[in-house]
Amino acid sequence: MNQTPNVQLPTSNAELSAGASTSNTKRRVLSIFWRILDFVLAGTFIYAGVVKAIDPVQFASDIDNFKILPWPVSVALAFYLPWLEILCALGLLFRVLYRGALSILTASIVIFTLAITAAKVRGLDITCGCFGHASQHWSFPSHLATNLAILAALLVLGFSNRSRKPF
């Protein structure tokens, strides 16, 4: 008979219980961290969206400076993109259509990053307009670093399992 001694059971249960508790605490701390990241990203995109929505004429001009799109498309995007950013940011904040919001924001930051890089390669000295007038005098490395940091945060949130579970 290969029986586990009874005396060891309480110890094992206690260890299991302690392990589960540690794991729960760790998960809880991680959840809080992800939620803070949600708030930071949402705040960033709401700010970026609002400053552009307030002055769509300037944003249309900023998009046009990239020399990629025809003027009417730049105007249409200048009206549309800020609101898309704001709504997606609210999606992150209130966890409504969460993964869709994350995907759209990730795609938009990738496109912005590629556009400013392409502009730099083509020798265009322009403002990306990502954060309205606040980013007007940012250097290319500052733009790139900010965009890559936001992209990294979005990807971390996207690949973390918690985005499928309620907080």
Binding site: A53, P56, V57, A60, S61, D64, N65, K67, W71, P72, S74, V75, F79, Y80, W83, L84, I86, L87, C88, G91, L97, G100, A101, I104, I126
Partner: protein
Amino acid sequence: MAALALLPAAGEAIYFRDKISWRSAIAPSEMITVEQARGWGDTAIWVDARPDDEFASDHVPGAISLNEDRWNELLPPFLAVWVPGKKIVVYCSSLSCNASREVARRLRKEAQLSDVFVLEGGWEAWLKKNR
């Protein structure tokens, strides 16, 4: 979410319909041809929005250099020359450049000047008509 964003965007497009043209980056009322600008004679001040080296190599006779690279430095001398009632004609290299548009925008917004116009075709157009 993508479809929902169309609603406020459409509302904003209606609200800003008088402030932005869907056809051109510059509102037609702010554009001026070389012939029209020359017709203004001494009542117009020419502003060269190109970089310093291009201005140094050649420019419209009597033009004042005012570019974004040295905006804070060049604006005071320009304002010293400007008198109320004078029209301002801003130009940059060619039809595709943006410097004149930006300088014109800043003159209106930051210096609170009116009657600021962008020369259609820029320096290239002026050269064609004058040489």
